[in-house]
């Protein structure tokens, strides 16, 4: 027999000003099964909760309806109150008469009757509530970080320092990511390698960190606290345990046809190579596609010259299986392909380069040893034109609609460094807006414009072309002077839009972690849970969640680590009992639920069922409660009504609807 108590909150004047709370309490008090009804100024206060507890005891209540604010605010509070009063916390229902009633209505009569209807619906629902118990599962005390750039390295270091084991999986032969390719960093102009490489070394030497470089995640199964992951360790054709990293093999390699990725293809590397001097691990890798031995069967010079006998042409990819409690996506960024931006002539003119290429040109370890030389003829350019927002803030459908966030600052950096090292150069920057809202950022940009004499032109470039005499002409608009201008340039640098790395999409699918239309990972809450994916146990670090510069990336990396540490520090995880459940007697095994489940929580298994005509084996849906988020998609998709969501059963929902329509 249901004995329901109703508690109507005034919320100061938040509710009471637009709803006659006394009338609501009286009306709901007359409902069937309601044995107690009261109103109070602040139901969430100590005294309000005491009122509830006393009412439970004095009236032997079995269910509670609180008419108050949104359940997002105080559902947890009132569940705890119920629990303290000795009834199951899931016997509490909230009727939201604030956000969905008093705040949005002015007419007190209408608002009061709506509040009564909402209360009735909650009463109707709570009649069918069943006590639910919170489940528990264990936690594997090891984290996986996918991506070995600054984001992944920082997250891994922070987790490792807290005493937990971390594995980093990096698809390239070395960790370091994009930051390793940068020359200087804004706004302090410290050298990127000088601040990054110590962290790379620390990650490699840390007793709690294991590096899987030249490796990719191939399969992710399981759920928060209990992921099981397959990692493909690609064949390097070099035995890591034997190689001393002397580099003799790379020197002897006769193949010189491969574009050097680290230098953005501006120079060539051998088929066996170490990506850069400070690479970690300092072990070469053979690019089988360009290796003469692999292509023709003849050569093997590297093998002959390897004193450690580490070269192994027969090496195969290796699959590693490991269990993790938490996974961090730190897949970073790349720049967009500029094929669709024909007006800039990036493919046509060798002296039109991207900012990342310029970064390598300015870097002492780059293809020009840090001398500003243009690609076409190696001459030092005298006039440089920087073009910002190439594909960023783009509404033409060719680029990205968002602001890439980092370009204004790195362009100011490039312009400033150019003027400092080569005072005889003229430097122009075309911009839509200069966005410099970080610490010391605006000062930095102004220094470029005011002290270093960089010519900032507000406007976009419409065309970059050859004037017929081999001169690069940049035609753009100066919207402040309201004129078109053409600059004869020796070199043009395009700030191409940044985008999430291509590997993010497939990883997102494997992790069942949601992504936005730009392939950025979505955070669980844009303001309050910025480093967590909505998928439990998956965390986000760095650019893969949204455009970020280095300080922001490092901050987010640390935040993600804290969340991981918080998870790994628990021995048992409590799970939400409001999950889907399938009735194997009714389930027809149609797979509809499996198809709509965004979290991969539903699998199919053979079950022995007795439908009254005898035992038989049927293929039925099984919900993994630890993975289920309780979204209810499966319950809605189920044609036979076998699938139900605990706490929100069809029976409960229909009872609510009936009460509203009464």
């Amino acid at each position: 027999m249901n004995r329901i108590g109703v508690f109507v909150c005034h919320c100061g004047s938040n509710i009471a000003a637009a709803v006659d709370v006394k009338q609501v309490a009286e009306a709901l008090g007359r409902e069937q099964n309601v044995v107690f009804s009261a109103e109070y100024q602040y139901m969430c206060s100590e005294n309000g909760q005491k009122l509830i507890k006393n009412a439970v005891k004095e009236n032997a209540l079995t269910g509670i309806v609180v008419c108050s604010c949104s359940p997002r605010m105080h559902e947890a509070t009132f569940r705890k109150t119920a629990s303290e009063a000795g009834i199951n916390p899931y016997m509490v229902e909230i009727a939201n008469i604030r956000e969905q009633c008093s705040w949005v209505h002015k007419d007190i009569t209408a608002a009061t009757s709506k509040a009564i209807i909402l209360g009735r619906a909650a009463i109707a629902k709570v009649r069918f509530n069943e006590p639910l118990t919170v489940g528990e599962s264990g936690v594997t005390k090891r984290a996986l970080v996918i991506g070995g750039g600054i984001a992944g390295i920082q997250t891994a270091l922070d987790i490792a320092d807290a005493g937990y084991k971390v594995d980093i999986v990096e698809k390239k032969p070395t960790i370091g990511g994009k930051m390793a390719q940068l020359d200087k960093t804004f706004p302090t102009l410290d050298c990127a390698a000088c601040i990054l490489t110590p962290k790379m070394v620390e990650a490699a030497r840390h007793e709690n960190i294991k590096l899987y470089t030249y490796s990719e995640v191939e399969e992710v199964k399981g759920y928060v606290g209990n992921f099981s992951v397959k990692i493909r360790k690609k064949a390097r054709y070099v035995r890591e345990n034997l190689c001393s990293g002397c580099g003799a093999c790379a020197l002897k390699c006769p193949s010189r046809n491969s574009g050097n990725e680290f230098n953005t293809g501006l120079d060539k590397r051998g088929a066996i190579y170490i990506p850069f001097a400070q690479a970690i691990p300092n072990i070469p890798v053979i690019d089988a596609e360009h290796c003469i031995k692999f292509r023709t069967g003849k050569c093997g010079l590297c093998q002959m010259n390897c004193a450690a006998q580490a070269i192994d042409f027969s090496q195969k990819d290796e699959i590693i299986e490991e269990k993790y409690g938490a996974i961090v996506a730190a897949t970073g960024f790349d720049i967009i392909n500029l094929d669709k931006f024909g007006e800039y002539g990036y493919k046509t003119y060798p002296d039109v380069v991207t900012s990342l290429e310029f970064e390598r040109i300015m870097n002492a370890a780059g293809p020009t040893k840090g001398h500003l030389e243009r690609p076409s003829d190696g001459r030092q350019p005298k006039t440089l034109v920087f073009v910002q927002c190439v594909g960023s803030r783009d509404t033409s459908g060719r680029g990205k609609e968002y602001c890439s966030k980092i370009c204004c600052m790195y362009t100011a950096k490039h312009a400033m460094l150019t003027r400092e090292k080569y005072p005889d150069t003229d430097v122009y920057v075309f911009y839509i807006d200069v966005r410099a809202p970080g610490k010391n950022f605006d000062e930095f940009y102004r220094r470029a414009a005011e002290q270093y004499g960089v010519h900032y032109i507000k406007g976009m470039v419409g065309k970059i072309y050859d004037d017929g005499n081999g001169n690069l002409m940049v035609r753009g608009s100066d919207i402040i002077a309201n004129e078109q201008l053409t600059i004869k340039a020796d070199m043009v640098i395009l700030a191409a839009a940044a985008k999430p790395d291509d590997s993010a999409r497939s990883l997102g699918t494997m992790l069942t972690a949601s992504m936005d239309t730009n392939d950025f990972f979505t955070e669980a809450h844009p303001k309050l849970r910025p480093v967590e994916s909505p998928t439990a146990g998956v965390f986000l670090s760095g650019f893969c969640q949204g455009p970020k510069d280095i300080p922001e990336t490092v901050a987010q990396a640390g935040a993600a680590a804290v969340k991981v540490i918080g998870l790994l520090s628990k021995d048992r995880l409590k799970s939400n009992p409001c999950v889907a459940r399938s009735d194997s007697l009714i389930c027809s095994g149609c797979s509809n639920c499996e198809k709509v489940c965004p979290f991969g929580a539903i699998t199919y298994a053979d079950a022995r069922v007795n439908d009254g005509t005898g035992m038989e084996t049927r293929r039925v849906a099984v919900v993994n409660e630890a993975v289920c988020h309780g979204c209810g998609a499966c319950a809605a998709a189920c044609p036979s009504g076998a699938m139900d969501l605990m706490g929100f059963t069809s029976k409960q929902i229909f009872a609510e609807v009936d009460a509203v329509c009464r």
């Binding site: 024909g342 002539g345 046509t348 065309k463 004037d467 017929g468």
Partner: protein, 261 residues
């Protein structure tokens, strides 16, 4: 191959040689251009105002005619092509324009942008094929460095017109190659000649046209071709090299006589 043909006003007056050469060359290539009856001026300019219906009606009438005939609507003039294609895009994608236009025209069946609008160059490229054109060439345009001039109307806005890559188009270059000529690739081939601005301010058209001609010459052009009577009007005034409609050199290569203004 039979097309419904929308010539447009200029091809029936100032640019009659464009019309005549196009029809004759098509005939030689096995394509019949059936001029639609009672076509009206497309307006020459696509109306940018999204609530402007009256100026879209002539295009819709022509498009609907072609739909009823079950044929593609072929144009030779870039400006007509631009207007027809843009209006067709509206009829397909803008519910507002579609419903207002249809409730005014009161057709038995609503027109919803079903007709395919084809530029003559697209016909050569996609339907006949440049290879097939090439086979019919009797007077290859040898030793002629020809600069194709696209202008804007046939290219932009690329999302709607979709004729070719608006920044690096190749259709006319391939057309010239098919005729045995040597195309000149120069950066200003897709710049605006000044267009209708000439009616307001001749200096703009002069500046733009001279730039384009100079650029083509600097890159080695002996001759320029265009697909637009308005471009022809602007460029011709300042050019010291021959400028022809692309259909004229097509007739030359195919060995066809075609006269006209």
């Amino acid at each position: 191959m039979v097309y419904d043909y929308y010539p447009g006003c200029t091809l029936k007056s100032k640019a009659s040689r464009f019309d005549i050469s196009a029809v004759k060359a098509a005939e030689a290539l096995g394509a019949e251009m059936r001029e639609i009856p009672e076509w009206q001026c497309c307006g020459g300019v696509y109306p940018m105002a999204c609530d402007e219906i009256a100026h879209r009606l002539p295009s819709v009438r022509a498009l609907n005619e072609a739909k009823n005939n079950g044929r593609d609507l072929l144009t030779v003039c870039s400006a007509c092509y631009h207007v027809l294609k843009s209006v067709n895009y509206d009829m397909k994608n803008s519910m507002d324009v579609r419903s207002k236009t249809n409730s005014y025209l009161e057709y038995e069946k609503e027109y919803k942008g079903e007709t395919r609008v084809v530029h003559y160059l697209e016909m050569l490229r996609d339907d006949i094929g440049f290879d097939a054109v090439s086979e019919k060439v009797v007077n290859p345009l040898k030793e002629l460095k020809i600069a194709p001039y696209y202008g804007c109307l046939i290219l932009r806005p690329s999302k709607i017109i979709g004729f070719d890559d608006a920044e690096n188009p190749v259709t006319m270059e391939n057309f010239i190659k098919a005729l045995g000529g040597d195309p000149v690739v120069y950066p200003f081939r897709n710049e605006c000649c000044g267009g209708y601005a000439v009616a307001e301010d001749k200096a703009i058209a002069e500046k733009k046209s001279r730039e384009i001609i100079e650029c083509a010459k600097k890159h080695g052009a002996d001759m320029m071709i265009t697909a637009c009577p308005l471009c022809m009007y602007n460029l011709k005034k300042y050019a010291d090299i021959p400028i022809k409609y692309f259909t004229e050199i097509l007739c030359e290569a195919l060995g066809i006589e075609a006269d006209g203004e």
